[in-house]
């Protein structure tokens, strides 16, 4: 495995647009290439990880279902903005997968630590 690493940043809530699924697809594809990939959820993207989604009534695929396959793709570096959670009255325990919460100071170093940063 090369030292190159990709960070995918997502900032959008799920379902209202395809952004959440599109970001996830980029991450899944990185892992197909056996490239280390991390996902960073900022702002409304923390809603993507909320448990208990049931989008059958709006004709969409359940994002929670796809997210739960991430460990099988060896994608386990999931970062969530601590303030994004707090502002929305959420806790890490409300989320479907274990995540690492990061504060503002850690945000800059996370970006610095990855070779390529992709916003979706």
């Amino acid at each position: 495995m090369s030292a190159a690493s990709i960070l995918v940043i997502t900032r959008s809530a799920p379902y209202g647009s395809s952004a959440a699924r599109d970001a996830l697809d980029v991450a899944l594809t990185c892992s197909v290439f056996e490239q280390p990939v991390s996902l960073l959820f900022l702002d409304d993207a923390v809603f993507q990880l909320l448990k208990g989604q049931s989008p059958g009534g709006i004709g969409q695929k359940n994002l929670n279902a796809v997210q739960q396959s991430l460990p099988l793709y060896d994608i386990d570096r999931l970062y969530v903005g601590a303030r994004a959670l707090a502002e929305r009255g959420l806790h890490a325990s409300d989320l479907i997968l274990p995540v690492q919460t990061i504060d503002e100071a850690e945000l800059a170093s996370l970006l610095a630590d990855h070779t390529t940063v992709l916003s979706v």
Partner: protein, 111 residues
């Protein structure tokens, strides 16, 4: 697009041989598609096909090769959770061929 009669039902496939209507899948469809590939489905094939259908039901997509191998490893053990094993059962591109026989959509995240 082609339509074939399988067990008295008209079943439609796209150009790459994937089912148009996933609900038309049955074990007979899998056997029919396998025969076209020159394969006879054994117990070893079936346990992978069932695993794939479970994967799809749970994770809402057809897996790429790597997660497929990992899922097989977790359910069927280390001996089977290897790409060489899946290549023997489903020659060529196991993730694509097995998804096709299992009546799932073509895996999206391919190279």
């Amino acid at each position: 697009m082609t339509t074939e009669m399988i067990n008295g039902h008209a079943v439609a496939f796209d150009d790459e041989g994937y089912l148009q209507d996933l609900s038309q899948w049955s074990p007979r469809v899998a056997e029919h598609l396998a025969a076209q590939e020159g394969l006879e489905l054994t117990e070893a094939h079936w346990e992978v096909l069932h695993l794939l259908r479970d994967f799809y039901a749970r994770y809402a997509h057809s897996p790429a090769m790597r997660p497929l191998v990992k899922a097989v490893k977790q359910s069927l053990g280390d001996d089977k959770g290897r790409s060489i094993y899946l290549m023997q059962l489903f020659p060529g591109s196991p993730a694509k061929l097995a998804a096709r026989l299992a009546g799932l959509p073509k895996p999206d995240n391919c190279l």
